[in-house]
Symmetry: C2
């Protein structure tokens, strides 16, 4: 027979255990709902050198003479499209750097098969990638604003919404984002981002990792000025390595946390250099892991680009360049911290592939540095148009037709 005293003791014991469990949950886990149990929000970045300051090592970049105004990072919004092996690490790096706002797009779920890349953890399997990412990122840095969209940007309605968020989803609602990062793993999604950014005149950066997991690249695209994704097929490093960078249906691509971590690292480094104005922003930086070879280059926009808006942006860019006095052009270039090195690749590769093999693998190719070739060749314009039964006047085609055309490629 249990006495009242014994029961009261048991109640007290259980109450204590429950409090301890709740405290432990909030102290240990990274999924605590009550954000006050993590670090409080910080109104102003401080350079104070104390262990409790999450920004001390970033603000030190000013004292080291690298960045003039680090706090400016809080005013920027970056959209990350694709929150997989590269996109999730990209988002984490930007979050830890204290970016103002992140807009994340993905429609995938976390799977155990993703555990060979950084960021996601086994207990998140089954959650949507954007939901899981937001949860983790918020607990890492509550100062960052997050906006997530759990959808496929390539469907009609979603594409319209995607365009709207790129053009109006900045920190100041109604203003465009400052940069779009493509971290997707397929051609269709890249083309959708390309189409949107060409139409909006939105500067973006492309990233990619090869199917065999041992090469990757990043690329800066300034509509009208540099080659867009439709101006030239994606470039790949072709020394000893399979040329295919495009994800094929039904093929299980290999992936490595190393290659994806390096690509995310050089991508976000380029973002920081671009937004905070330090160093030389790369137009194209490749990573060949087999030989530790990092080709750089830049490519001008193609006047015959199949994208109508790209050609329109090129005209706009030419008009502005012509209007600008010579002196001003030089000054602005210096401000943008972008160094044009059209012919100084500065890198040589001892290729084990013969010139003939390269030619056979890539077909007619543009004038590229040794060791680089194109992933696929663009069909002749006339052939493509006639095959699709379209008129030459395809510049006036609707978005719907454009999407349909993309799917046929």
């Amino acid at each position: 027979m249990t006495t009242v005293e014994e029961l009261k003791l048991r109640v007290r014991e259980l109450e204590n255990e429950l409090i301890k469990c709740k405290q432990k949950r909030c102290a240990e886990e990274d999924a605590c709902d009550n954000l006050t149990h993590h670090r409080p929000r910080i109104d102003k970045m401080s350079a104070e050198v104390v262990d409790s300051n999450p920004y001390s090592r970033l603000m030190a970049l000013k004292r080291m003479g690298i960045v003039e105004d680090y706090e400016k990072i809080r005013t920027y919004t970056v959209a990350v499209v694709g929150v997989g092996g590269v996109g999730s690490v990209t988002a984490e790096m930007l979050t830890r750097c204290g970016i103002g706002k992140l807009v994340l797009f993905d429609y995938d779920k976390v799977e155990l098969a993703n555990m060979n890349r950084l960021f996601f953890q086994p207990h998140q399997a089954g959650l949507s990638k954007v939901e899981a990412a937001e949860h983790t990122l918020r607990s890492i840095n509550p100062d960052v604003m997050f906006e997530t969209h759990n959808y496929n940007i390539t469907t009609m309605d979603n594409f319209t919404h995607f365009m709207d968020r790129i053009s109006r989803g900045g920190l100041q609602e109604g203003k465009p984002v400052d940069l779009v990062l493509s971290c997707v793993d397929n051609f269709e999604a890249r083309m959708a981002i390309n189409t949107a950014c060409n139409e909006l005149g939105q500067i973006w950066m492309e990233s990619g990792v090869s199917e065999n997991a041992v090469s990757g690249h990043i690329q800066l695209i300034i509509p009208g000025e540099t080659a867009c994704f439709a101006c030239a097929p994606p470039l790949v490093v072709a020394a000893n390595i399979d040329e295919k960078t495009l994800k094929r249906e039904g093929v299980c691509a290999a992936s490595l946390p190393t290659t994806m971590g390096v690509v995310a690292g050089i991508l976000v480094q380029n973002v920081l250099k671009y937004l905070l104005g330090f160093g030389t922003v790369s137009y194209y930086l490749g990573y060949n892991a087999m030989q530790d070879f990092f080709p750089t280059m830049s490519m001008k926009a193609n006047p015959q680009c199949s994208d109508h808006y790209c050609r329109k942006q090129q005209e706009e860019y030419k008009r502005k360049e012509a209007e600008r006095p010579k002196q001003e052009v030089v000054e602005e270039k210096e401000e943008e911290q972008i160094v044009h090195e059209d012919n100084e690749w500065g890198i040589e590769l001892v290729s084990e592939v013969t010139e003939e093999e390269l030619k056979a693998a890539s077909g007619p190719k543009p004038d590229l540095p040794e060791g680089i070739t194109v992933a696929y060749t663009i069909p002749e314009k006339e052939e493509a148009a006639s095959a699709a039964g379209e008129t030459v006047e395809e510049t006036e085609q609707s978005l719907e037709e454009l999407m349909a055309q993309m799917k046929r490629i």
Copy 2:
């Protein structure tokens, strides 16, 4: 007055709430003690392409023709010394790749000031780095074996224990580890690792990130064959950038998740290439983030190296090389997958620093590729010896004297 019935009801309520709290902890957090709530251990790596297989994208490296025997990774042990910005990401990448065993060394605690680098989270502030890292890594991949040491390797007793664990802490207890990775942030710890590896003939890799956060490097050291840390001062890329790579007391070094992520990525990539035998293992790979410049090189051991065991390993290496028939040498080199390119750096740098500035900054320097200089110069042997009041016979000095000498440098 509380009745027995009311008390019993309260006990049942509390018991249910406690169960729920414990279940929630295990479902949400990454710090669950009960590993059965995460994914079960896997006995044999499978190449099956299903969402629930955490190794499918790694095993795909075999199908892609990159790695011959990926499963071999489970037989290797890697020691990571320093679990900070580079070491923690290094350990995470190796964990996600399914390495057999990790031996972690660090004596620091997690601080909010570390949150600008990947891996640690704010709720871990105050925990020891090795404890926090093991917790997270175990939940990411329960197949990996972990051994952690929460101590400073540079004190006498700890150094002896460190040597013991390097020489006997392999997967098969009593066997040495397969590789030691230096991810420390100071000169003294690097010298301790160098001393231990020279004495043991243990192959290791060095890594480092500059104080201004925008450059870094990795280096492979094979005792007796390649330059050890005492053979030549650490090399830094000197184009436009401060030469100091050594952490100075009282200076708050800047750091970036990008640079540290890239350095960890190229480090672990080199580890995978070395252990699994694919691609070209780099002897030295630098990363200059300001200009996206990645110098490579190799350096032979210095016959005048101040480290007694280095000189001893050099003799041993020479003896073995001389004994080996010519044909065999070539074969073994191929097996090791290390390409010797003594004079083919393959990289040019358009330096904005004049030759005179480089010379002034680095003093008498070895024959290095353009754009690379040494971080500091070694004092003349006679001067150093007389200043310390030591005899020329310093090859017989004790470990204690060696440590004291290191501190004076």
